[in-house]
């Protein structure tokens, strides 16, 4: 009797599972990607991968909660490869225990050591430089340091997005890592006092702030400049871009703060072989150039070249402090932002 019921339940469940989804996501010819990156941006490089290997890719674009989702899905998770931006998120997926170490001589040869996890739980793919964007009209100097941003001469002249945004958190964390918490706090207060307006909008909106004359300096990633310059459908953004110049901070000192976008192999990847193939492909100079061309970021592989537009903004000397060292200070940076009331 009991076993009959059990079989009946089993039959129903199997029936449902065949209707709802394939029970396991293992598929010889497929690789499943959980991504924090916009599908449109990664499509060209994924297409190149499919062309070369014949392996199909499926992308699920997420915003928040990837770690929690992967944890809850557990051994039945369909995810093979994780693509994400921001060092904080790369650290989170490792700390959350949802990745697995990958050891590939190919990848290790392509990605410099300070841009990957020592255990192979994640690898950087591109670099994004957090630079100062300055009005061509109203700012004469052609070089700058991060420390200078706290100088009263910029009083009410700087625009920046929310201090709690991960991009700014990483920047502040890098200041803490380089100069200690005390000085970082002083710096942040100085910067806050120089703001032309409360932090609002995204990086683009800060450039617009310069264009409109609200501020003279803005802090942002260079790739937004490339995206604005090539924005065919919103041509007014080309004017915003044209009104500013890129100043790479601390070029004669420790270098400009860079963040990474990266990849990892999911802990319970059902298609491990395909996942590895994709990760090796993404680390190759060829793929990095396709990717960098799309997103206007800097390829991490020293053998790959940034796009012509990215190059036109100048040479990048990046802060060489290991990125993991910077990421350690993220929570401290977030608290600091609240402490000084940066967003008020």
């Amino acid at each position: 009797m009991k076993s009959t019921i059990r079989w009946a339940i089993a039959a129903v469940l199997i029936g449902i599972s065949t209707i709802t989804a394939s029970p396991t996501f293992a598929n010889n010819n497929q690789v499943n990607i959980y991504s924090y990156r916009q599908p449109e941006l990664i499509a060209p490089v994924l297409n190149a991968f499919t062309e070369e290997t014949g392996i199909e890719t499926r992308v699920l674009n997420l915003r928040d909660g990837m770690v929690e989702r992967l944890k809850a899905e557990g051994i039945n998770s369909p995810a093979d490869v994780i693509l994400t931006v921001d060092i904080g998120r790369l650290m989170d997926i490792k700390d959350g225990g949802v990745t697995q170490p990958v050891s590939s001589t190919k990848i290790n040869a392509n990605i410099p050591e300070h841009y990957r996890d020592p255990d192979g739980n994640w690898f950087g793919l591109t670099l994004r430089a957090r630079v100062v964007l300055a009005s061509k009209e109203r700012v004469e100097q052609d070089s700058i340091t991060y420390a200078e941003l706290a100088d009263p001469k910029w009083n009410e002249r700087i625009c920046i997005r929310s201090g709690q945004h991960p991009y700014n958190i990483a920047l502040i964390a890098s200041i803490i890592a380089n100069e200690g918490e005390e000085r970082a706090k002083e710096w942040l207060i100085g910067l806050k006092n120089n703001l032309a307006r409360s932090p609002v909008g995204n990086d683009r909106a800060q450039v617009q702030g310069i264009f409109s004359g609200e501020c003279d300096l803005a802090i942002g990633y260079t790739y937004y400049m490339g995206l604005m310059r090539t924005n065919k459908n919103n041509p007014e953004q080309k004017d915003w871009e044209a009104s500013v110049k890129v100043l790479f901070p601390d070029q004669n000192g420790r270098g400009t703060h860079v963040n990474v976008s990266g990849m990892a192999m999911a802990k319970n990847a059902p298609n491990q072989q395909n996942a590895l193939a994709l990760m090796e492909f993404l680390s190759s100079p060829k793929a990095q150039e396709i990717y960098a061309e799309q997103v206007f970021e800097y390829p991490i592989s020293p053998d790959a070249q940034p796009s012509e537009i990215t190059k036109s903004y100048g040479e990048l000397v990046a802060d060489t402090l290991p990125i993991v060292e910077i990421a350690r200070w993220r929570a401290a940076a977030s608290l600091l932002v609240d402490q000084v009331g940066f967003n008020d």
Partner: protein, 557 residues
């Protein structure tokens, strides 16, 4: 063997004693409230470090901002909704017929799209400021003053303009049934129209006004997309910064619960204030014929303007900006992917609307026939999820269901060597569940108000004729509830259509809604490319608005 017998005797007792409504309502409420329970479990798993650290820094400010936002919304959205309902119900002026339904149009615009388009409209390079510069001969933003839309005040304005229809709908529904009698009484007493509004109609409309305003507030509290864009740091913003930047999911669950508690207090306070009032109309509304008062001259003009402004801003501005984007993309904007996304959205929203309404009718009916405190509490509990940000609700849904999936899978593997994988989370079912949980408040509010308009004498009469509870509901109450049911279903449909954050977190591979499609294009600040899709979403949202207005028209005239 003793235990199951005891249990079944108990079950029989429950059925016999007619306690099944309370029992069932509790069960439904539990299902709907499960995400909140799982948040409580999550919150209990962490320490209070983040919350303590925050309480000395941003929390007081964030709480203050949230409070101001809510008060601002209550005043602005409440006024727009109540005044437009008052005008279109009781007066005749140019355009009244059109406004009756057009006033609902902003409902179709998601807040994130509204925030974006309003910023575009009022930004330095937008049409308004360009005009200001042209007229004033200014060059730079520093040469003139212009209000910043990305501010608390701007947020109140933007949200009020798309959310006021909740107030308009509920107040109007009440005016249509009960307002005319109020006016008649006022006229007999020789009061003028303003006097009638302030001393008769508004007190009469208070439950409806409160319901509408509470929905607006909950919608505002759960919003993160629009608030982030407008740079307004509400408590919700802090929930995310704890989670995303400090990696403390438990801490964010704790704060979410604090937020929930505040919302419950607010609702409780409102109920406590009017605890002694009862609102049943014992007469049939069709008997209450009343001629609308004809306005002329500047009064008519004023009424038209008062209705035109909210529609023009709440719907017109997003429509113009999106239309402009869409026109640049007409050649490339339509894609197979977009059409599929739209179809998926419509199907999911329709199923969610159906389920939510059925459950809401059940819950409200249970309270009606067995209005114990416990049942009432369970129903409140079921609907409070609306005040939580979608992502947080999604988290509370995903964890237990994925655990269930894995439990079933492990069982099946152990006994049959077959893997069922992620049975529920691997399908679209979690999405529907999430919509039901999120929008139960919307449906429950409308249907509860609908029930309250029906005199309990009808139930008693039905009982005398030997009708069972079920027959009473089916034969007598449901036909009377029809307008409320239609309103509830369509509101849930529109809300589900627009839902973004929970969908993002919960959808499996291969399921894409229109909101997701727009998000994918817009997440790097390129919402322009999503112009056509956004417009389509808004247009699909209009269809139910029109159905709604038709049902309202047949309901009153």
């Amino acid at each position: 063997m003793a235990k199951p017998t005891a249990k079944s005797t108990k079950t029989t007792a429950i059925l016999k004693n007619g306690r099944w409504p309370a029992f069932g309502a509790g069960l439904v409420a539990l299902l709907v409230g499960m995400p909140i329970i799982s948040l409580i479990v999550m919150a209990a798993g962490g320490d209070l470090q983040s919350l303590i650290a925050l309480s000395s820094t941003v929390l007081p400010k964030a709480a203050w901002t949230t409070l101001l936002l809510l008060i601002g919304l209550a005043i602005i959205a409440g006024s727009i909704g109540a005044i437009s309902a008052w005008l279109t119900c009781f007066f005749e002026f140019p355009g009244r017929k059109i406004f009756t339904w057009a006033l609902m149009l902003p409902l179709a615009v998601p807040t994130y799209i509204s925030a974006y388009t309003f910023t575009e409209f009022f930004t330095f390079t937008g049409p308004v400021q360009s005009l200001v510069r042209q007229i004033g001969g200014f060059g730079s933003a520093r040469e003139y003053w212009f209000p910043e839309i990305r501010s608390l005040g701007g947020a109140v304005l933007v949200l009020s303009l798309v959310l006021y229809p909740y107030v308009y709908l509920s107040v109007r529904a009440l005016f249509v049934v009960q307002g005319r009698r109020g006016i008649e009484a006022g006229v007999m007493l020789g009061a003028n129209q303003l006097r009638i509004l302030t001393s008769i109609l508004l007190p009469l409309a208070r439950p409806a006004l409160a319901l509408g305003i509470i929905l607006v507030m909950m919608e505002a509290i759960n919003d993160i997309g629009a608030m982030e864009y407008l740079g307004v740091q509400t408590l919700t913003f802090s929930i995310f910064s704890i989670w995303v930047n400090q990696g403390d999911a438990a801490g964010s669950a704790q704060l979410a619960l604090v937020l929930l508690f505040l919302m419950l207090t607010l609702i409780g306070f409102e109920r406590w204030i009017r605890r002694k009032q009862r609102f049943n109309d014992t007469r049939q509304s069709s008997q209450l014929l009343f001629e609308r008062i004809k306005l002329s001259g500047w009064k008519a003009f004023g009424a038209t303007i008062l209705c035109l402004v909210p529609v023009g801003l709440g719907f017109g501005v997003p429509f113009i900006i999106l239309g402009n984007y869409a026109s640049r993309y007409l050649t490339s904007g339509f894609s197979q992917r977009m059409i599929e996304a739209l179809t998926t959205s419509i199907i999911l929203a329709a199923i969610a609307a159906l389920i939510t309404v059925v459950l809401a009718v059940f819950l409200s009916y249970a309270v009606r026939i067995r209005g114990t405190k416990f049942t009432g509490f369970m129903v409140r509990f079921a609907s409070v999820g609306y005040a939580l940000p979608g992502t947080i609700i999604a988290l509370g849904i995903f964890l237990p269901i994925a655990n269930f999936d894995n439990f079933v899978d492990a069982y099946m593997r152990q006994w049959f060597g077959i893997s069922t994988g992620l049975l529920i989370t691997g399908s679209g079912a979690t999405l529907i569940y999430a919509y039901v949980v999120r929008f139960m408040a919307v449906a429950e509010g409308s249907i509860d108000a609908g029930f309250k308009k029906i005199s309990p004498n009808l139930d008693d009469a039905a009982k005398c004729f030997g009708y069972s509870r079920w027959q009473t509901l089916r034969i007598i109450l449901l036909p009377l509830l029809k307008p409320a049911i239609i309103t509830a279903a369509l509101l849930v449909f529109i809300d589900s259509l627009k839902e973004l954050s929970a969908t993002l977190m919960l959808r499996p591979f291969g399921i894409e809604t229109t909101a997701i499609y727009i998000h994918d294009l817009a997440s790097r600040g390129r919402i322009e490319q999503a112009g056509i899709a956004s417009l389509l979403l808004v247009l699909v949202g209009i269809i139910p608005v029109i159905i709604l207005s038709r049902s309202m028209a047949s309901d009153k005239d």
